[in-house]
């Protein structure tokens, strides 16, 4: 069975500092990996994805994520965090052959202080 782990419930950083949100996964075959962000009282917004190719993928709002197959990780990063990045972040994984089996992690709340 596939699964996603986000080991940190909360991440707190100062504005301007680097931001990292951790994600590890378990899935059969090569994974399709996603990051979503949720602002208060809103639905999830797609940030970025890894399907194949370069291990470093770039997404919306200056975010990027690095796929590491040996460590089964897909950590989300931003070089310089903004207060407006404060939100709930979800990592998700699915196997390539199944459109319907997107599994989400529990989420990480990011707080960026001014």
């Amino acid at each position: 069975a596939q699964s996603v782990a986000q080991p940190e419930d909360q991440v707190n950083v100062a504005e301007g500092n680097p931001l990292t949100v951790k994600c590890t996964y378990s899935v059969s075959g090569n994974p399709y990996l996603f990051w979503y962000v949720q602002y208060p009282n809103r639905g999830l917004q797609f940030l970025l994805k890894y399907i194949t190719g370069d291990n470093l993928v770039k997404g919306s709002y200056g975010f990027e994520a690095e796929f590491n197959k040996s460590q089964t990780s897909f950590h989300l990063k931003k070089p310089s965090a903004l207060v407006s990045d404060s939100a709930l972040y979800f990592c998700a994984v699915r196997p390539p052959a199944n459109d319907y089996k997107l599994s989400f992690g529990a989420g990480t709340t990011v707080t960026v202080r001014a």
Binding site: F90, Y100, F104, G107
Partner: protein
């Protein structure tokens, strides 16, 4: 701009009531999903549908049913609402074979059962 629209942002219902949550998408997507979101548990799949009148159980279907009579509309039904169904409900859609582009989510319905 493509949209997934959930008819209600907030609902308060009484225990034992039959509750309908409505979702409409304007992207001509074949796949539609219902998730519930609870703190610390992330998103859990309740049901999904890959075509009109077709439905499949997700990970937590107990206490729920769904209806998809038209391609653009996917309804979640709580036959007899209970307090443990108090949650945020998220609808999503995707096109067949394009799940690698991620899902598009609605803004969510926060349901309180009293």
């Amino acid at each position: 701009d493509v949209k997934v629209t959930q008819s209600s942002r907030y609902l308060v219902k009484r225990t034992g009531e039959k509750v309908f949550l409505e979702c409409v998408q304007d992207m001509d997507h074949e796949n539609m999903f219902w998730y519930r979101q609870d703190p610390g548990l992330g998103l859990r799949l309740i049901y999904f549908s890959y075509d009109v009148k077709m439905k499949e159980k997700g990970d937590i279907p107990e206490g729920y049913s769904v209806s998809r009579e038209k391609k653009e509309r996917f309804s979640l039904i709580l036959e007899s609402a209970s307090t443990n169904q108090t949650s945020m409900y998220l609808c999503a859609s995707s096109a067949i074979g394009q799940g690698n582009y991620g899902y598009t989510f609605g803004s969510g319905t926060r349901l309180t059962v009293v």
